[in-house]
């Protein structure tokens, strides 16, 4: 009976197989069609290297910013269980917005805030002469906007799962709140922070919609790997495929690193 109960109805196998094919076949096509022989020379081209370095640099910076801002936000979110329902749910909803918002809408929203005529942007321009849109800074801000929730929710999950009584024990030993956070809370949730940062980096690296809307596509300053890939697809498909392979390799590497953590269903 146990065998029968754990079995899958035959009628479900077909759509399930189609679903797997839908997920895997495009990637197979990418690998099959890849210009393996020229890969080295394609990736060594100056404009490709430029996009690669820009992407790695901005994604790293965005991840760093997400850590600095997101870990405290995750702590607030994890502790918000004692708040009244309305502010608690509102905060959670606000953090979730970038996850469900089309990235291009995020880009438009960032323009309306930080553009030269934007809510904040007009003052930045007038008072400090600072213009953000269509700069590398804009790339980083767009990446932070879309990637922040990944870090926040990963760290918040780790905080909720950790035993808060260790913090109480530390307090009885004379530790201030900041010391407790630094010496107990942070080390205990370090694996959650690491996986959150990795997800954050991957999401930043793949960012397209918000970036092209808010930062444009200027080679060397805002043309990141995904944007470069999209543009090259018209003019030089082989180069586009090579770049796609690089992005896919990063994703697979992250997936392998996280296979024991935070990947839904694989969590032990």
């Amino acid at each position: 009976m146990a065998h029968r109960r754990s079995g899958v109805a035959p009628a479900l196998w077909v759509p399930a197989a189609i679903a797997v094919a839908l997920l895997v076949l495009p990637l197979v096509a990418l690998v099959v069609r890849a210009p393996w022989g020229q890969l080295g020379s394609l990736l060594a081209r100056p404009e490709v290297l430029q996009a690669l370095l820009l992407s790695l640099g901005t994604a790293a910076l965005a991840t760093l910013l997400c850590l600095v801002l997101g870990v405290p936000l995750a702590v607030v979110l994890a502790r918000s269980v004692t708040w009244p329902a309305v502010p608690r749910r509102l905060l959670r909803a606000l953090v979730t917005v970038p996850l469900v918002l089309p990235p291009v809408v995020g880009g438009v929203a960032l323009l309306l805030l930080l553009g030269r005529r934007g809510l904040l942007g007009q003052w930045l321009d007038e008072w400090f002469g600072i213009t953000i849109p269509f700069t590398t800074t804009a790339v980083v801000i767009a990446q932070v906007f879309v990637a922040l929730p990944f870090l926040v929710f990963a760290v918040e999950g780790a905080l909720r799962a950790s035993d808060g009584r260790f913090e109480v024990a530390a307090a009885t030993l004379g530790a201030s709140r900041l010391t407790v956070f630094r010496r107990i809370t942070l080390p205990l949730v370090a694996p959650g922070i690491a996986s959150g940062a990795l997800l954050c980096f991957t999401r930043s690296l793949g960012e397209f919609g918000a970036t092209i809307t808010f930062a444009g596509s200027f080679p060397g300053t805002t043309q990141t790997l995904p944007i470069s890939t999209y543009l090259l697809l018209q003019s030089d498909p082989d180069a586009a495929i090579a770049l796609s392979l690089v992005l896919m390799a990063v994703s697979v590497a992250v997936l392998l690193t996280l296979r024991d953590r935070w990947v839904p269903g694989v969590v032990s």
Binding site: F166, A169, T172, L173, R177
Partner: protein, 224 residues
């Protein structure tokens, strides 16, 4: 140390006064849910309480947990899993003081181990050393033997009794076991349903149990 404690949690009310002198060990004895652990938590500043707590010439009522100078050995010890034994013991103190306490409690050779690598008895001594290394004005032990295997409980209890006898810090131990009371304490407050039902020395408690609960505990204990 002198304290009056009042804690209300829904229908449960704890109303207790207690006193313990340096060098003494006071046991709070009572069944599960009587309010013993809540009393410890109130003393340590972990739950809100009415009443007043006076310790070593200080009134602690508005003093936050981290400034109370109260050593707390939790029931499951709560050793920090990411720190070595030495770093655990030194957490609220210095390494030199930590090393000295580890020597006194005979755990110096465990310095480099991590909590998951300790036996129950070792973990208890580490927790005790960690609390004592902060040079507390009061030591609280919450069911210090409950987390241990029955097989080693007697040995660890007599070790603990020897250590407590060797320190001058006023100590309060919470337990529901009369064995613990007999081995560790000088004075006893029996708590049932949030109130003290008997205050006595261990000897008086054996001679004249005031409630059926104590009577049963004493009888079971003398039968063993």
């Amino acid at each position: 140390m002198r304290a009056s404690i009042g804690v209300t949690r829904g229908a449960f009310e704890l109303d207790l006064t207690l006193e313990v002198e340096p060098g003494q060990t006071l046991a709070l004895l009572g069944p599960n849910g009587a309010g013993k652990s809540t009393a410890l938590a109130a003393l340590a500043g972990l739950v809100d309480t009415t009443g007043t707590i006076e310790l070593a010439g200080r009134v602690l009522d508005d003093v936050p947990v981290e400034h109370r100078r109260i050593g707390y050995v939790f029931q499951d010890y709560l050793l920090f899993p990411h720190l070595t034994v030495l770093d655990n013991v030194a957490f609220g103190s210095t390494r030199a003081i930590a090393v000295e306490w580890m020597r006194r409690l005979d755990i110096a050779d465990l310095a480099a181990r991590r909590p998951p690598q300790l036996s129950g008895g070792q973990a208890q001594r580490v927790a005790l050393a960690r609390a004592l290394a902060t040079n507390p004005d009061l030591l609280l032990l919450d069911e210090p033997l409950a987390a241990l295997d029955v097989a080693i409980r007697d040995d660890v209890r007599s070790e603990l009794a020897a250590h407590l006898a060797a320190i001058d810090v006023p100590t309060i131990v919470v337990t529901h076991s009369f064995e613990d009371v007999a081995a560790l304490a000088d004075h006893v407050i029996v708590i049932e349903g949030g109130v003290a039902t008997q205050r006595a020395t261990v000897r008086e408690l054996v001679r004249a149990p005031a409630t059926p609960y104590v009577e049963r505990l004493v009888r079971d204990w003398s039968d063993d």
